[in-house]
């Protein structure tokens, strides 16, 4: 079996779901003829035609709004943000219209909103965002952040089949950097379930998206020093898999949260609160976090490296915590 990149896994998920279900359509900027800014939708127009692969004007609110309308009519639209930073332009449609629809009047919105997020590629302040927490704070949405090709494909399929608005944040750093062999069958990965990526006894490192790989790199380094870190990949931020986090903390008694999102209001704060409420007695040390700085994402490589967590920063924090 050939190996599949994270990006190709996303393309395959859309391709296979559109093949399986004529209710699945794609709308976004340059998704058709051009195949998407990152070529995520390459070949979809040729196969599925103009009615199902819709090149839209530069109108993020209208793209999301139209996708909401399509979902009311029984379709399962995928709306693409060319860069996830532009999701800010559609904030209203997502948080007020889509998210509240089922609660307010029982109208489900089976919509997937996906796009490239994250930094590490020197995209600067407007092409590197990690906007997940704006939406994790919005009841009614689901927020998915896959870290592997298998999860990207399986979770996107689950998102398309879900009856709720799912925000699917692809990490563009991973697009062509990671690949793996994927199952040949029509598999899905359930939304709302974390995965233990590495087992360990000394501390738990919780992360998601590209930072899972950073955490694993740090864990490999720590293992050489005799520190066994357990690495948990959240995969979904909303709903959050509290059980997997708590089970690991109860086992290792120490918790480090790593995210590329900025520090204040990041998921680490929420996880800290959950652990304090549910596993305070199990802790043998203070909860630690390694996150990006509370600044916009800077452009210069040196600045961005300073801004983001690295395996070195994660290992240093983990070392300190392990020896606490």
């Amino acid at each position: 079996m050939p190996e599949t990149t994270y990006l190709e896994a996303i393309r395959q998920a859309m391709f296979e779901e559109m093949d399986r279900d004529p209710a699945v359509v794609l709308i976004g900027e340059d998704v058709g003829v051009y195949g998407g800014a990152f070529k995520t939708s390459e070949g979809l127009l040729a196969r599925f035609g103009w009615e199902r692969v819709i090149d839209a004007p530069i109108s993020e609110s209208a793209i999301v709004g139209a996708a909401i309308g399509m979902s009311y009519a029984g379709l399962r639209p995928i709306a693409e943000m060319q860069f996830i930073d532009f999701i800010a332009c559609a904030f209203e449609m997502i948080t007020n219209f889509a998210a509240k629809s089922h609660y307010r009047w029982g109208a489900p919105v089976p919509l997937v909103l996906r796009g490239p997020s994250g930094g590490g590629v020197h995209g600067g302040p407007f092409h590197s965002a990690n906007p997940e927490m704006y939406f994790v704070h919005t009841p009614g949405l689901k927020v998915v952040c896959p870290a592997t090709a298998r999860d990207a494909k399986g979770l996107l399929k689950s998102a398309i089949r879900d009856n709720n608005p799912v925000l699917f944040f692809e990490h563009k750093f991973l697009y062509r950097r990671i690949k793996e062999e994927l199952p040949a069958d029509d598999f899905t990965v359930p939304i709302g379930k974390a995965a233990v990526r590495r087992e360990g006894r000394d501390l738990t490192i919780v992360s998601y998206a590209a930072m899972v790989h950073t955490a694993l790199e740090a864990a490999a380094e720590l293992a050489k020093e005799g520190i066994e870190a357990e690495v948990i990949d959240l995969r979904t931020l909303l709903p959050l898999d509290r059980e997997t986090i708590l089970a690991s903390v109860r086992k290792t008694n120490k918790l480090l949260v790593v995210h590329e999102d900025t520090r204040t209001g990041g998921i680490a704060g929420e996880i800290a609160a959950i652990v304090m409420e549910n596993a305070f007695e199990d802790l043998d040390g203070p909860l630690r976090r390694v996150t990006s700085l509370d600044t916009p994402v800077p452009y210069a490589p040196g600045l961005e490296d300073h801004f983001r967590p690295s395996a070195g920063k994660v290992a240093a924090a983990a070392r300190e915590l392990a020896h606490y």
């Binding site: 003829v33 127009l45 709004g65 309308g69 009519a73 509240k100």
Partner: protein, 389 residues
């Protein structure tokens, strides 16, 4: 062209307009009794627009009413009790107390989308339904309303532009009631006619006297036919006047008294009643029967609403997500094979018709566009021409 309205249709229009007005008067009484939980947004003087536009649609078509479009909800089959229980936050309301005012809908039976408070959002949403309807082979038209103030939003532009490039079967009613809360239309837009916004999108537009229900039905029917035929969206500006404040709490002292007085003479119900009498479409007995029926219905529904329980507090926790409680199913009216490979497959290249920009016309400074000439745009009426009927 659509056929003229029959006597029965005239009487039905009267029923809905009168029901709209009587219902709102009843709502004011409930408000004064402290039985309305939140705000109450009157549509006094605008009943002909709500009722007449919704009346021009077919049963398979979709609407998304705005806050003042109680009349459209009634035409679509909602009952006074739905409006009352919504405002009174009762468990029997269409949203079971989760939302108030006219923020309710019915996806499957009545094809009514619940509005939100954020103006303009419904334009792309209804465009999306129109696109989906075309995709599914349903031959439907979608419609929503926006006020003069709402035309200033960004999503108005994004939505209408998308509808235009997609040639979506969508009709937008711009209900120009001259006031957005306390702000007059002159401070919203430098345009004399909001219908002229349509020119920016390359779509058809019309202006109609919003206080003339027959003209509203006729103009909207033409627009609906145009949209249904695949000729693209239509914007109708219905000129009218908000006769009360923005909501019940607003005494609207900022509105010149003379302005209200002049519009009061054009009251849509008074005018329609006069027309029914002049055309001998009814007599005093018929009017009395309809009015009595309305009084009966409202009385019964007030009783229903007042006897309805409030929602159990813990139901606040329910319904954030669809967890299998609804099935999502499209109503396919065309063979699915048409949109599946190999029939859906195309050559992935743009069918660009012209290789020159705007036909390579020389650039010229154009004077501000004059008032569109009647006749140049067939559905474009003029308020002045129609006001004399």
């Amino acid at each position: 062209m659509s056929s003229p309205l029959t006597r029965e249709q005239h009487l039905e229009l009267y029923y809905f307009m009168r029901l709209n007005r009587e219902l709102e008067e009843q709502m004011v009484r409930l408000f004064r009794q402290n039985k309305i939980v939140g705000g109450l947004y009157p549509s006094l003087g605008q009943e002909a627009i709500s009722v007449g536009t919704a009346y021009a649609l077919g049963p398979g078509d979709w609407i998304a009413p705005m806050i003042r479009n109680i009349g459209a909800l009634l035409v679509r089959g909602f009952k006074p009790r739905d409006v009352m229980t919504q405002h009174m936050a009762r468990y029997t309301s269409p949203t079971q107390g989760k939302d108030g005012t006219s923020h309710f809908g019915d996806l499957n039976a009545r094809h009514v989308i619940s509005p939100t408070s954020m103006l303009g959002d419904l334009i792309p949403v209804m465009t999306g339904i129109a696109m989906a309807g075309r995709y599914l082979g349903q031959n439907i038209v979608t419609m929503t309303w926006i006020g003069d103030g709402g035309t200033s939003t960004g999503v108005f532009h994004e939505g209408l532009n998308l509808a235009a490039v997609q040639k979506a079967p969508f009709v937008l009613i711009v209900e120009n009631n001259q006031w957005a809360y306390s702000t007059p239309v002159e401070k919203q837009s430098a345009l004399g006619d909001l219908a002229d916004r349509a020119r920016a999108y390359g779509i058809r537009s019309a202006i109609v006297d919003g206080n003339d229900v027959v003209a509203v039905v006729r103009t909207t029917r033409e627009a609906v036919e145009h949209a249904r035929a695949g000729s693209g969206p239509v914007l109708i500006e219905a000129k009218t006047m908000r006769m009360l404040g923005h909501a019940q709490h607003d005494s609207a002292e900022y509105v010149p008294k003379a302005m209200l007085a002049s519009w009061k003479e054009r009251d849509p119900l008074d005018r329609f009643e006069k027309l029914l009498t002049e055309k001998k479409l009814w007599d005093a007995k018929t009017k009395k029967e309809i009015d009595a029926r309305i009084a009966r219905e409202i009385r019964a529904d007030v009783e229903f609403a007042e006897n309805s329980p409030f929602p159990p507090p813990e139901s606040a926790e329910e319904g954030v997500y669809c967890e299998g409680c609804h099935t999502v199913e499209a109503d396919w009216q065309r063979p699915k094979e048409e949109v599946m490979p190999p029939r859906s497959s195309v050559k992935a290249e743009w069918p660009v018709k012209s290789h020159s920009v705007n036909g390579a016309r020389p650039l010229a400074v154009r004077p501000p566009s004059p008032k569109a000439k009647p006749g140049k745009k067939p559905t474009r009426g003029s308020v002045r021409a129609k006001a004399g009927r």
